[in-house]
């Protein structure tokens, strides 16, 4: 029971932190928020195969095995998430270079637009 509670609150907190950061105005916190959200989603995906305690990976043929499918799914999701985080960092840097500010709207609040 305690394990479920720990993981559920953990995923919830990381998601909440990620969403808070994504709602910030500057691109660095937004990127951090995106990757935190991505981590929370990955753990959530992993957990949806249920919690398996004392279970071996699918490599062994004996005894209780953990559900291997979420592991495969989460691996794919991690790879895709890593690539897209890399892309969004590059894009944010370029946007900073083009507009002269790291605000996601391309201008300082209260400053001249465009």
């Amino acid at each position: 029971m305690s394990m479920e509670f720990l993981l559920a609150t953990g995923v919830g907190m990381v998601t909440a932190t990620g969403i808070y950061l994504m709602l910030r105005g500057r691109s660095f916190p937004v990127v951090l928020g995106l990757s935190l959200f991505g981590h929370a989603v990955n753990v959530f995906l992993f957990l949806m195969g249920r919690l398996w305690v004392n279970a071996a990976p699918v490599l062994t043929g004996e005894g209780l095995l953990a559900d291997p499918l979420p592991q495969a799914l989460v691996l794919t999701a991690i790879v895709i998430g890593f690539a897209s985080t890399g892309f969004v960092i590059e894009l944010a840097l370029r946007s900073r270079h083009e507009s002269g500010t790291d605000q996601v709207d391309g201008h300082e609040p209260g400053g001249p637009r465009a």
Partner: protein
């Protein structure tokens, strides 16, 4: 030789549509890009890029036509990747709906490619390779029969679209690019959450198998499935630009270069397709009517999207934003018809979607043709210099406007008529009729306003500047799109028969399950939720409830 080729085609038809753009893109990457037409070497490379890309586009179109002919016979073609049996491996499934979507993609892609060779592809690197990757993602998303695979192909097409959106560079593109990428990454996260919920409820992600499980769910697992349906609706709603999630679209499409915006006309249809595939087909059979719980949300949201889209079009201050808002509005009309959840309305929605995609892609190209002749004003809706070719561009504009707003005898009219006819007698009829008719009228006003400003409210001298090279290459694709919409009107009867058959095929979920899962059982799921227990190889797996 010919028989061997035909056999090969029959065996591998679905996967070839995905592999062709992939191989083309890889060849283009290997060929390298020397920075566009600047140097002599770069110009030569660019010529080869164009040749290969257009040739691949033509081949893709031929293959898409063949796929539609094959699917029209009514049989489902299942391609099991790596010969793994269906619920365990990934299956590509070719049915009428996916074949029609692949053909629509090819029909949009080829004229857009031709347009891009008029100069846009030289303004950045690897335009054609990215374009082909996008086509690969689109074809894969339309053909896959597995929910997680749908996610992967979404990522492929999104990755390509991120890079295509900022093609041509510029401050505005990067600003909108950041918004677009961040929004879509959040949507991808939500997509994974939805898939995780589906997996936890059913123990499988194969669409046919999930559909079978959903009919037998009970208790809290059923709640999981319903939450999953709603989370996935948010994800697909963002792609399709459904009401609270469409605000990114007009600005993004207006910032994108014209050929990219025209290609993106099909991106909203990916969301629409996914709603039809997942909520109509997979969730449609759920015991507690999980699909219907989505319908309660979908119909009002779709109607409101349609209205707000056209209000945005009336208020738009540039032509590109105007067409962007028309995209939103047409998605709303289509989804409203889908949301009535009857085969007749689905068929009407599909016909309307075919038409609106083609005409909107044409309008995005036309906007740029007009903008280049208006000097510094570009496509802003303010009085400016007269365009150099008012008759030609005006005729195109008139044609497009009449078509998109649904004046007879153009296919927009037929599509709307079908939506009205199919919705008559259903509970939402009054709402659908008033919204569709009012939106058509307001669309006409919005486009008439734009036409008056651009063509009549002008200084009588043409804008300075030489004629663009490759003018005919840029005009022709717009005419091709207009001709395609006319063809859609002329061939309305066979096309409508096809969409009718598509809707009927989607409603026969048992046939789909039998074809994909390869079992004779009518509706029993072939997998069970993983519980750590093993089943002896010879015993048939039984559905176990927690």
């Amino acid at each position: 030789m010919r028989a061997a080729l035909a056999d090969f085609w029959l065996l591998h038809a679905p996967v070839l549509s995905v592999l062709l753009p992939l191989f083309t893109a890889v060849v283009l990457l290997l060929l390298g890009d020397r920075g566009g037409a600047g140097s002599e070497q770069g110009a030569a490379r660019l010529r080869w890029h164009r040749r290969i890309s257009v040739a691949s586009g033509v081949l893709g179109l031929v293959m898409a036509v063949a796929l539609v002919r094959q699917a029209a016979a009514g049989e489902l073609l299942v391609y099991r990747l790596g010969e793994w049996p269906a619920p365990f491996g990934i299956a590509l499934v070719l049915d009428r709906l996916s074949a029609a979507m692949v053909l629509l993609t090819a029909l949009v892609a080829l004229p857009v490619l031709a347009y891009a060779t008029g100069g846009w592809d030289a303004r950045g690197r690897f335009f054609h390779a990215l374009f082909q990757f996008q086509l690969m993602g689109l074809a894969g998303a339309f053909l896959t029969g597995d929910l997680f695979n749908l996610f992967v192909f979404f990522e492929v097409l999104l990755m390509a679209s991120y890079a295509l959106l900022v093609h041509g560079q510029g401050r505005e593109r990067f600003r909108m690019g950041v918004h677009y990428v961040v929004l879509n990454l959040v949507a991808s996260g939500l997509f994974l959450i939805g898939l995780a919920l589906v997996y936890s409820a059913t123990g499988t992600l194969n669409m046919a198998d999930v559909g079978r499980h959903l009919a037998h769910l009970q208790g809290d697992v059923q709640v999981f499935a319903r939450v999953a349906a709603l989370v996935l609706l948010v994800v697909f709603g963002l792609k399709a630009a459904l009401l609270p999630l469409y605000f990114w679209l007009p600005g993004t499409y207006a910032a994108a270069s014209a050929p990219v915006a025209a290609l993106f006309a099909i991106m909203t249809k990916v969301g629409l397709y996914s709603i039809v595939r997942v909520h109509w087909q997979v969730f449609g059979d759920a015991a507690d009517g999980a699909a219907l719980s989505v319908a309660d949300w979908l119909l009002p949201l779709a109607l409101a999207t349609s209205v707000l889209g056209v209000v945005g079009a009336l208020a738009a201050h540039s032509m590109a934003r105007l067409v962007g808002y028309l995209t939103v509005s047409s998605v709303g009309t289509t989804l409203a018809s889908v949301a009535l959840f009857t085969p007749a309305t689905l068929s009407a929605a599909l016909y309307y979607m075919l038409h609106s995609t083609l005409v909107i892609a044409g309008l995005f190209l036309l906007v740029e043709l007009i903008a280049t002749q208006r000097g510094d004003m570009h496509d802003r809706l303010q009085p400016a210099h007269a365009v150099r070719e008012p008759v030609m561009l005006g005729a195109m504009m008139l044609f497009g406007a009449a078509s998109v707003s649904g004046l007879p005898p153009l296919p927009g009219f037929l599509g709307k008529l079908m939506v009205l006819q199919a919705s008559s007698g259903l509970p939402g009829q009054a709402w659908v009729w008033s919204v569709v008719l009012a939106v058509g009228f307001l669309t006409l006003i919005g486009l008439a306003r734009a036409g008056v400003i651009v063509f009549w409210h002008v200084q009588p001298v043409a804008a300075p500047g030489a004629r663009l090279p490759g003018r005919h290459l840029r005009m022709a694709p717009v005419w091709v799109f207009m001709a395609l919409t006319v063809a859609l009107a002329v061939l309305a009867s066979p096309v409508k028969r096809y969409t009718d058959a598509t809707a009927a095929q989607l409603a026969r979920r048992d046939d789909y399950g039998r074809a994909v899962l390869g079992t004779e059982a009518a509706s029993a799921p072939t997998t069970r939720r993983y519980d750590g227990q093993r089943v002896a190889p010879d015993s048939t797996p039984q559905e176990k409830q927690p």
